[in-house]
Symmetry: C2
Subunit: 349 residues, 2 copies
């Protein structure tokens, strides 16, 4: 923390007034025109810049928030949410500290401790690993907001309506005449249900798939349902899981004519497997993804269920700010997703 040369006292001295008067022209208050002019001149002359650290110590507001992410490098989803938070925060004069927990509760605990040490005004989780780490924040009175998934039901939470989004994807595929639609996605057994509603993101998406089949009068074929992880956090976010699932699907006696992958990262692997098999998308197989992250960069450009990542970040921050300001902070906001149709889906052959 090098200089920001001048201080309030320095400005006061240069202007021939007290620090209280300088503070008044800075923050508003009764100041004579004469004093104001003198202070303003001194401000310019000294190149004064307020010291947020000192302000924080005095006011008990650091104007920083912590942002706990799963792994910013493995899924662009997190980057987009984080960037939206940052932009929104900046407008309010807030800065954000990012910490990646890698899905590990122990790491998350360290990050939370750091946030506390730095006296952040609030913490955003996208997403939280362990409820105990949230309790730690409650103990010291730091509000927090959960984005996408909820470990605890006591505080604000903003998420997407995954069920509706996934239903829309299914309707799109069924509407194109597909009758053998595969599901490649997160295994509900590997994910905790959201506190307060008893369902997880994965429950919603899988149920939407099943209900979508039902609505279209299609049978459930277990061999077309491939559940697992989205990715290994340690491998930097490859679609290898999607690739593996798809290899199996393509070897089926009657292979699917469409695949719904519930994450663009998975979908990337799906497209790679299809490419390797020398089949064409969408001529031979249609593919739909989820998130709208990698989608527009894949070949062919991917039809996907877009998550409103901007809104997740913005609303998450707004909720945090509300909590900081002492407003009631146990809202749950559910945002709609949006099907973006690109070049990876077409009528069934």
């Amino acid at each position: 923390m090098a200089a920001g040369n001048s201080t309030l006292a320095g400005v006061a001295k240069a202007a021939g007034v007290s620090t209280a008067t300088v503070n008044r022209v800075l923050k508003g208050g009764y100041v004579s025109d004469k004093a104001r002019r003198a202070v303003e001149a001194a401000l310019r002359e000294t190149g004064y810049r307020p010291n947020v650290v000192a302000q924080a110590l005095k006011t008990k507001r650091s104007f920083t928030i912590g942002e706990m992410l799963t792994a910013i490098t493995v899924n662009p989803f997190f980057v987009n949410v984080a960037h939206s938070v940052e932009e929104t925060a900046m407008v309010e004069g807030y800065r954000t500290f990012i910490f990646n927990n890698g899905g590990d509760a122990g790491l998350e605990r360290i990050g939370v401790e750091r946030f506390i040490a730095h006296r952040v005004d609030a913490v955003l989780f996208c997403t939280a690993v362990a409820a105990t780490n949230l309790e730690r924040l409650e103990e010291v009175g730091i509000p927090y907001v959960q984005i996408e998934r909820a470990r605890v039901a006591r505080t604000s939470f903003v998420r997407v309506n995954n069920y509706v989004g996934a239903r829309e994807a299914m309707r799109h595929l069924a509407g194109l005449g597909h009758r053998r639609i595969a599901f490649v996605g997160g295994d509900p057994a590997l994910h905790q249900a959201d506190a307060g509603r008893g369902r997880s993101v994965e429950d919603d998406r899988l149920q939407a798939y099943l209900d979508g089949l039902g609505e279209a009068g299609l049978p459930v074929d277990q061999s077309l349902i491939r559940l697992g992880r989205y990715y290994e956090i340690s491998d930097g976010g490859s679609g290898v899981e999607g690739y593996r699932h798809t290899r199996v699907l393509l070897d089926l006696p009657a292979r699917p004519t469409a695949i719904f992958a519930t994450c663009d990262v998975l979908a990337a692997g799906v497209l790679q497997a299809i490419y390797d098999a020398r089949l064409r998308v969408p001529a031979d197989i249609s593919v739909v993804g989820f998130d709208d992250t990698l989608a527009f960069n894949l070949a062919p450009a991917l039809t996907t269920v877009a998550q409103p990542m901007q809104d997740l970040g913005r609303i998450g921050f707004d909720m945090a700010l509300a909590a900081i300001n002492g407003e009631p902070a146990n809202h749950e906001v559910v945002l709609p997703s949006r099907l973006v149709v690109r070049a990876s889906t077409a009528p069934a052959a």
Copy 2:
């Protein structure tokens, strides 16, 4: 900045000693066993957590650094560098503030002012837009380090040897027998040269392409050289520029059998255009990218010149830390890249 309930004074009171003694058991110093035990008990009992804000005010070290990025959402390169910085910083007890300048000097200025207001100990640029914003930091005595590109030659700088990396890519393609190799990349005319060496990243890559042709005894064909931007920051990082260039290349009377795109984002667009044209990679055309960001998620998985993003971030932070500690800070480190051969390159037909 809510609570972190207990303070040094609170602990001192609970332990029946002075704050100085508490501080001694925390930071090391002569303390009797008796006092130490009392303090340690009080520490646990009160759940004391040091207040980094107060420490920062007192010691003039905030243990935070600013990280100025171009646009974290448009090119995964930035995320990877940022994540490496964060991980390295954490080990040293540092936290990072990220700010995206969007390539705009005015925004960058605002970000720099924020960094100063928060009294960051140093700033990392990846990459800086305007030299004036760096001077601003010098005025107030905050050290900074530049990653990838240098606007100013006075301080530490870490980058990749783009020339060597690009030469390797060319040798790979020429070695596979390709004789019509196209170049899709950044236009040197659109980028400033690095201060202190008079060349830009783009100069290096383009020159390596030309020299690579020369080494292979191949003629320079201007119609195979497509220069422009990597992406529009406002569009979220699509490969549309690469797509456009490739459409033109594929319409050539004698189309190239290989394309060297100097950014994975561009390469993604290249692959999309080839896919649309119903050609196969690498059977009909080989493609090489640069960065190793999207590469492993594209279809087919892309051969690319990998940048050591981890090292860029780590070394950048280490340089910043050295500068913070008053060590000489005008080193230039040039790192090697590494050609990663995947499925997008094969012998010329």
